[in-house]
């Protein structure tokens, strides 16, 4: 027996939820009680969204812009990511040139665009390009492209190279051998991941709108700040409909085409209906071009950059050093861990609590869907009606959003996991909650927690989006530096932030590998 008790995997899933206890205890001290009636009005308005034709029209056209931005940013990111993935693959470099080090170098370089959240990209590009729809598209495409590149590169290098070596030994030229040996096994993972990125792109496009980069998000924020809750819900319900439609479509295609699950719960019968997939990709191109045209995109704009701000002139080293760095970094880390633990722990806990009731599960699904699509800065603004600004309000907002994402993932993975163990427990008289905990949760625990580690890394990058609640670490300082044109501070903050996210990524990678390797 080991000296310290080690929680079994299903229990480990629930452990992060323990942070909810101190948060709940701290809430009375943080509440200022001013805006409960506003929260009440907000919740009631969900049942009575405005159906005014003017409001509807404005919401629909905003939604159209958001969807187009998401689609274009996503398509561009896939193109960029595929290219980045190919040039950062060790296998590829090794086959073509006999060397591996260029791949490692490119990998390190790609970590930089990835470490900067799309919101920061958007706000930076806004300075350089001016307010154009291209800004939002690029803001999504650049960091997403780097992310896709990493996934493609990792997948490529993880593929067994036996087939490739056989082809090379038989004298096939490098490009042909690579395409034949690695193309077909790579495609399912890339398409499956690509579908998931499209969902992320829709959320990001909404978020960018909240910060004024166009689309429905802008309307949502204005309605919230002018307390027009009925109009707010018109936009929200529409957005929910589009998001659920998209998720259903992506899921249906993933199943139809035999693509792997995101948690990899079941060994996939990968890669059916190749012709259909190619046809879909080909059909997508004119649709995207049409959309780009409707949005009035001009690629030529990218050549006309605004003059860069005078960095040297604003450089004040004494002030930079005087910034409260430890507090900023500490707040950011506290915010990340708090939001991460809330999201990772509450998803399985709430699912367990409603397990016996189908209606409860349906309600939970709806709340999670709202959490996913509802941009965290708006939740944060809403929370400020009743809470003092700070790390807890920001963590609740980020936690709620990520709870929606993790919860859906857990639900989907649970549905595709084998029900046999749980049924055996039910047959022996266990209740539905304990059967779920001991049965499906046991099977899912490791991959779920590994995904939670990855998600926490994403949350670290995301802390900037709730920076606007104030006193929430580097994100708040960054947004303040941006709005006061303090370029030297902005650069220093971004460098520290990027460093932090790179370290975070490394830590989360290690945690993931340990979780997945453990017997």
């Amino acid at each position: 027996m080991s000296p310290l008790p080690r929680p079994a995997p299903p229990l480990l899933m629930l452990v992060p939820a323990l942070v909810a206890v101190p948060v709940l205890l701290a809430l009375p001290a943080l509440a200022h009680g001013g805006g409960w009636d506003l929260i009440g009005q907000f919740l009631l308005a969900a049942l009575r969204p405005s159906l005014d034709p003017l409001v509807l029209h404005s919401a629909l056209s905003g939604l159209g812009v958001t969807v187009v931005i998401a689609l274009l940013g996503w398509a561009l990111s896939l193109g960029l990511g595929l290219a980045a993935g190919l040039v950062s693959s060790r296998t590829l470099w090794h086959t073509a040139t006999g060397r591996r080090w260029p791949a490692d170098l490119i990998r390190r370089l790609l970590a930089l665009p990835r470490s900067i959240h799309e919101l920061l990209w958007g706000l930076l590009l806004l300075q350089v390009l001016g307010l154009h729809p291209e800004v939002a598209v690029l803001a999504i495409a650049l960091p997403f492209g780097a992310l896709v590149g990493r996934v493609v590169g990792d997948q490529l290098d993880a593929l067994p190279t036996g087939g490739l070596e056989a082809l090379r030994a038989a004298g096939a030229p490098a490009p042909g051998a690579l395409l034949t040996a690695l193309g077909p096994p790579l495609l399912p993972a890339v398409i499956s991941y690509g579908g998931y990125r499209l969902e992320c792109a829709l959320r990001s496009a909404t978020l960018l709108g909240v910060f004024g980069l166009g689309g429905l998000g802008t309307d949502l924020r204005l309605s919230l700040q002018s307390l027009q809750f009925a109009e707010l819900w018109t936009g929200l319900w529409l957005l929910l409909a589009v998001m659920l439609l998209l998720e259903t479509l992506v899921r249906a295609l993933r199943q139809r085409w035999g693509m792997p699950d995101r948690l990899g719960g079941r060994a996939p019968a990968v890669g059916r209906r190749g012709r259909e997939i190619v046809l879909g990709a080909v059909l997508l191109v004119p649709v995207l071009l049409l959309m780009a045209h409707s949005l009035g995109l001009e690629p030529g704009l990218l050549l006309h950059l605004n003059p860069l701000p005078d960095l040297a002139g604003s450089y004040r080293p004494a002030e930079l050093l005087a910034m409260p760095w430890p507090a900023l970094v500490g707040q950011t880390l506290a915010l990340t861990l708090l939001a991460g633990a809330l999201a990772v722990g509450l998803a399985p806990l709430t699912l367990l609590l409603v397990a016996p009731w189908a209606a409860g599960r349906a309600l939970l699904k709806l709340v999670w869907a709202l959490g996913r699509l509802w941009p965290p800065p708006l939740t944060a603004l809403l929370l400020l009606f009743v809470l003092k600004p700070g790390v807890v309000a920001a963590a609740l907002a980020l936690g709620f959003h990520n709870l929606g994402i993790l919860g859906r993932l857990l639900l989907e993975a649970g549905e595709s996991a084998s029900p046999a163990q749980g049924q055996a427990l039910v047959a022996a008289g266990a209740g539905p909650r304990l059967a779920l905990l001991y049965g499906r949760f046991s099977a899912l625990a490791r991959s779920y927690l590994a995904y939670g580690a990855y998600r926490t890394d994403v949350i670290l990058r995301e802390t900037v989006v709730v920076g606007l609640v104030g006193a929430a670490g580097l994100g708040t300082a960054l947004l303040e530096a941006l709005s006061s044109f303090a370029w030297d501070q902005l650069l220093a903050l971004m460098a520290v932030y990027a460093l932090l996210t790179l370290v975070g990524e490394d830590l989360s990678d290690r945690a993931r590998q340990r979780l997945l390797a453990c017997p």
Partner: protein, 246 residues
């Protein structure tokens, strides 16, 4: 005393599983009953009705003279008295042997104890006793079940059944995937545990394993066509049981 299991006129339509038609039978405490029949004859369906996982469209199921309980709590206590040894074992791979054995007690445990079982070794003496009954070393208790051999896994599944302490033991072809020596050992262990007040109902697809059973039920295309002591089952009856559909 009421029989441990009584089926009256059970009917299950054959949509997603093999059908059953007007099956009636009684199993008394102390009986060791083998269920024979060709593939698709309805053996698994009958066992699913017997362990309460499948509600029949027609007929009545009584456990110790009681119909399925209405309230959730009483129903769970009722199910706790029916134990099933699954063909695919259904051990929880991520947990230790001891946690798996204790999982059989979840019907009677509250939340705190169920959670604690995932953290600390609980009721070690009872778990060790269950392992000894199936001739396994109690030193295996802290091992993850993934570390066990195939034969050990079979026995742990049986030990879990004993830990549940049911009156009615059901087994769905538990020896189908075992080599002859392991199969005979497991059957002997199971039969030894099935004396009164318990009873055993086990489906088999090989008639050569009937030694040690008191009684045979024969299913053919969803109908009960034979019910009698093992010695009365002769070659002609067997041939009729396994004959191709007309």
């Amino acid at each position: 005393m009421a029989p441990l299991l009584e089926l009256r006129g059970i009917g299950v339509p054959g949509r997603s599983r093999s059908r059953l038609e007007d099956v009636s039978l009684r199993i008394e405490a102390g009986e060791r009953v083998a269920l024979l029949g060709a593939s698709g004859a309805g053996k698994s369906t009958l066992l699913a009705v017997a362990n309460g996982m499948l509600e029949p469209e027609a007929g009545e199921v009584l456990w110790s003279g009681q119909p399925p309980a209405g309230s959730r709590r009483r129903r769970r206590r009722q199910l706790a008295r029916i134990g099933t040894l699954w063909q695919d074992l259904r051990l929880i791979e991520e947990l230790t042997v001891q946690q798996n054995l204790n999982a059989a007690r979840l019907a009677l445990w509250g939340w705190p104890k169920a959670l604690l079982n995932l953290l600390l070794p609980l009721e070690t003496a009872a778990c060790a006793a269950a392992l000894e009954q199936v001739e396994l070393d109690p030193a295996l208790l802290p091992q993850p079940v993934t570390a066990l051999s195939g034969g050990q896994r079979q026995r742990v599944a049986l030990a879990r059944l004993l830990r549940q302490d049911p009156l009615l033991l059901l087994a769905d072809e538990p020896v189908a995937s075992l080599d002859p020596r392991l199969a005979a050992e497991l059957l002997a262990l199971l039969q030894r545990q099935a004396g009164a007040p318990r009873a055993l109902l086990m489906s088999l697809h090989r008639p050569d394993l009937l030694a040690g059973f008191d009684r045979v039920l024969g299913l053919r295309q969803g109908r009960l066509v034979f019910d009698g002591p093992v010695r009365t089952l002769d070659g002609a009856e067997l041939e009729r049981l396994y004959a191709a559909a007309p």
